[in-house]
């Protein structure tokens, strides 16, 4: 791969390069029916078509040339780009906490990947220090790349490996842990680690970025600084997610791994604590606690690592008119646990009843969560709810659907006994089910209303 002189080119475009003996990174003169062009041939993204050749012209811009218009090419030189974040040794100081950063593949600091045209992460402490020198003011940082996967490719195997690796670091006396992670499934991992790493003595902070770090306005650097601050200095020894509070570069929020959810596809302030308040606000200098009740940092190196997961668990997002065969086919496929995501207080239609009964007979563990995201499952209010409970569906309180899914997989990884599973599911480890919902746990402001607009104008978004 390293010597791929036609990197990314295929079909007609590749033939054209070969015909004229021009390599990727070759400085080239091109004659076309649309006139003459000069530039350096760049690699092409694998998913792009085979009809164009990409060049960087002298002014730094990229252009594509239609191979059909090319009448001649001449390579006059060769200049390969050396894309490297300047590496500097991460400074160590005795008075700063030792923090470990585990990499899973997020884009804390990244560089361009020509294969996909996307960005790939840079990672060593030296690179990170080169990109975010402020980190050295916060902690002594060491890093370990556990895997390099995009967020959507994180799964049970990765959760277990992470849990074990965290356990080792804690035993070795680390004072805080950061996990760099893609944002799409950050909250799934938050839940998984909460269940697999119980009662940790130090903060475990998951962090990512909504804008990749190859952009000047990226949130990556500030998120990382906040995460380092939380991991090294906060008193909260829990699994947390640290991401932007507002979209402004102002402060971050620390969310419990079990109550956090990604709520916008692209906003910086996408992570919100659902049904409760966040743990704390954080900036470069301060950690301001919001929740008074949390697990405090300890000096010991004790932690309970429970790296279990049975992946025969699935979720069923109910929609009006759902046919029983959807459930049947899941059961037939051998799924042992199903988390329903029901409407309103936790409902599905009557048409599903026979399928639910059938699933119950087959010993499938079924739990009910909510599409409304906010609020509790209340299955006593309507007959349908009671019917469903009678058919073996267990209400999961105000547990978020994704969290219930992770927890059921984790529980089934330990036991098959319905009562044991139920006990594990309904006994909160860290507020995945809360006994009460505070009045400010549900705030979705409606734009356009004068007092809301007034508030938005006064505080930074």
């Amino acid at each position: 791969m390293g010597d791929d002189i036609f990197q990314g080119y295929k079909g007609h475009a590749l033939e054209t390069l070969k015909k004229y003996n021009v390599r990727v990174w070759g400085q080239t003169e091109v004659d076309t029916t649309r006139g003459k062009f000069y530039g350096t041939v760049l690699p092409r993204s694998e998913n792009d078509d085979d009809k164009h050749i990409v060049m960087k012209i002298e002014t730094g811009y990229n252009i594509g040339l239609d191979v059909e218009t090319i009448t001649g090419m001449k390579e006059t030189g060769y200049k390969k780009a050396n894309y490297k974040i300047p590496e500097q040794e991460f400074p160590y100081s005795k008075d700063k906490p030792n923090v470990k950063l585990f990499g899973t593949g997020g884009t804390i600091a990244s560089r361009l990947d020509y294969r996909t045209g996307a960005v790939i992460p840079a990672f060593s402490p030296g690179e990170l220090y080169g990109a975010v020198p402020e980190l050295a003011d916060v902690c002594n940082l060491t890093t370990e790349k556990l895997f390099a996967v995009f967020s959507e490719n994180m799964g049970p195997e990765q959760y277990k490996k992470l849990a074990v690796a965290i356990g080792k670091e804690i035993e070795n006396g680390i004072e805080g842990i950061i996990i760099g992670h893609g944002t799409d499934t950050l909250h799934h991992t938050g839940a998984a680690l909460t269940f697999m790493v119980q009662n940790p003595p130090v903060p475990i902070v998951l962090v990512g970025s909504q804008r990749s770090s190859d952009r000047p306005s990226s949130d990556a650097a500030l998120n990382l600084i906040h995460a380092a601050k939380a991991a090294g200095h906060s008193d909260i020894a829990e699994v947390m997610v640290s991401m932007f509070g507002p979209t402004s570069d102002e402060y971050g929020l620390l969310h419990k791994g079990t109550r956090v959810r990604k709520m916008h596809s692209s906003y910086r302030s996408t992570f919100r604590t659902i049904g409760d308040t966040p743990l704390a606000m954080i900036d470069r200098d301060n950690i301001r606690h919001i929740k008074k009740d949390y697990n405090h940092r300890r000096k010991d190196h004790k932690v309970k690592i429970l790296p279990y997961f049975d992946d025969r668990v699935t979720m069923l997002y109910y929609y009006p008119g759902m046919k029983p065969d959807t459930l049947d086919s899941l059961v037939d496929a051998g799924y042992k646990g199903i988390v329903f995501v029901g409407t309103g207080l936790g409902h599905v239609n009557k048409e599903l009843y026979p399928a639910i009964e059938r699933a119950q007979k087959k010993g499938v563990h079924m739990y009910m969560t909510l599409q409304t995201i906010w609020g509790y499952v209340h299955m006593f209010v309507y007959d349908t709810g009671r019917d469903m409970m009678a058919k073996g569906i267990i209400p999961a309180g105000n547990m978020l659907p994704e969290v219930a899914f992770i927890k059921l997989g984790w529980a089934l990884g330990q036991t098959d006994d319905p009562e044991e599973v139920k006990k594990l599911m309904l006994t909160p480890i860290n507020d995945e089910i809360t006994p009460r919902e505070p009045y400010n746990g549900y705030l979705v402001f409606q734009g356009g209303i004068p007092e809301v607009e007034d508030f938005i104008k006064r505080v930074h978004k």
């Binding site: 076309t32 649309r34 006139g35 003459k36 062009f37 792009d48 078509d49 009809k51 164009h52 990409v54 960087k56 012209i57 002298e58 002014t59 730094g60 811009y61 990229n62 252009i63 594509g64 040339l65 239609d66 191979v67 059909e68 218009t69 780009a81 050396n82 894309y83 490297k84 974040i85 300047p86 560089r111 361009l112 045209g117 996307a118 960005v119 909504q210 804008r211 990749s212 770090s213 190859d214 952009r215 000047p216 306005s217 990226s218 650097a221 500030l222 507002p246 979209t247 402004s248 570069d249 102002e250 916008h264 596809s265 692209s266 906003y267 910086r268 938005i456 104008k457 930074h460 978004k461």
Partner: protein, 661 residues
Amino acid sequence: MNKAKKDFDPKRNYEETRKAIGYVTRKQATQADYDRIGFKSGLEVHQQLKTAEKLFCHCPSGIYHDHDDYDAELIRHMRPTLSELGEYDGTALMEFKTRKEIVYRVKNETTCTYEVDDTPPFPVNKEALEISIVISLLSRLNIVGEVHVTRKQYLDGSIPTGFQRTAIIGVEGDIPLRHKKVRLIQLSLEEDSCREISDVGHTRVFKTDRLGMPLIETVTYPDMVNPEEVKEACDYIRFLNRSTGMVRIGSGAGRQDVNVSCEGGTRVEIKGVSHTRWIPELTHNESFRQYALLRIRSMLNERIPEPKEWEMNYERLDFHNFSFEYAPMKFAANSNYTFMAMNLPQFKGVLSHFTQPCKTFADDFTDRLKVIACIEKPNMTSSEALEAVISDHDMEKIKKLLGAGEDDAQIIFWGPEDDMKTALETIEERARMAFEGVPRETRKSFEDGTTVFERVLPGADRMYPDTDTAPIPLDKHYIEELRNDLPQDVIDRYHQLKKWNVPEDTYTYIFKRNHYPLIEKIINELKFDPIFTGTFFGHRLKYVEGHYTPSAEFDYSLIYDLFKFLKDNKLEKELAAKMLPVIYEHPKMDFDSVLNTINFKRLSRDEIISKIPFLHQKFDSIRHSEKPENETAWIMGQLRRTATGNIPLNELHTLIEEQKS
């Protein structure tokens, strides 16, 4: 020795150095002067396109708000990132040094989550892409096969993403000027930036109404060799853009950056010149500024053969140990600012060296202290200030404190303690650059033709492919279709106007407003006299536009309708000039009512002619003069009002002459 000190007069030095570089005013300057200093200039002409929506989102384009009219604010800090080729850009590093907090004022009506970088781009605006291709074809550029959106880093905050999405549409073209061809490097389609509201200390405030509007940038080679040529090229490009009728006009819709260098100098970019008439003075002064910096370089190189060994030293000053009376220094002391003095060995005569009219080399330091260290002006003075603000006694004390020698110069500066480190670095950096010559920078222009430091000049190192957008192929047939439908070249129109003998002083206005197509239509279809038609637009319409305000939108096609009305009704063309102000003010009024408004009465030709004999007699009885031309003039005066529109005035003139005696 003390006497020698007294003998040095910064003002005299300014005058002498001005003379030494051979500075002449623009009025005095000839091509020989520009050849002597090696004047060279190129352009980057920006033009907003007339589209309903912005370039990468569906917000409306062209709606502007007042500074205080906003719905929300948000804050960003910019951080340099690597370019595609793995380099950091100099400008980016400079902006990072400034530690600016950028505040964006957002109005819902004109800004969505895209502009503030909370949503990836939507597919490019097809209308804008098409206009940019049309203009590229007119500029004889080679159109690319596939458009690649590139991110061009801007860390000054003018774009919340920290980069501008921009794409090359064509490369290598040319435009014809009257006496030469100017080559074009490229044309790009890009998104417009935010408008700055304020920039004080470490806070810069922008509004996002203009952000994301489609804009094209035409870049020329540095082919222009005198200031007038730069203006001519710029006008041509603007007229070419406007000839499509698909671009925005009005304040801020067209802006240009002007690149200037002199022989041995550096390409310096004068940013955001909003009027082409400012170009000559700005480019003239910039070329001489560079020439002055080159003289400073040779002075320093002569005095200091080993620049590497040259070192400056500094000391903190205790305000209370001096008797500073300068108000800004007292204000600084009240604000608990830090005072520092820096010694620049061998810099005597350099700080007060002429650079621009009324400006010296010392101004380069104060400008950079403002921009890089974020210290508001006035932020310094020096041993060579043209107007001394520190007493000789204090100056002597400072020199002693610094251990300064006779041939040294000193800078005294003040500002918040937190900014002092950057301030020191900034001064040292600029001083060292003096050994090199002309720093690569962008400069902000002023109406008086001078400039100040704005930023370090960015290079190709700030480019990065946009990973959020896919390349857009440009189909052969599509391009050919557009090529077949292009408006006529501006240069051909120019030659046609000349052939028609339309006076040249009308051309700028005609091209600026893109009136040519209408003029051509009136001449060809309605058979009006070209000189009359050209001057009607270039003089009369221009005058009316400057002196009247329309009550509704005035559509220029009304002028065609007016000429057609005159022709259809067999009215004489002179009437047009009288009708125009009324039509312009009341675009919805029908032409018959306009005639009533100007008290026009239809009279037959015979009726008017029949009055001539009577007027001849009348003149005889009242005449004060024997000159025969007075008689004709008087009779014309009597008849003009009723005659205008009913009979050609030159014909009437002849008839009066004929009937004389």
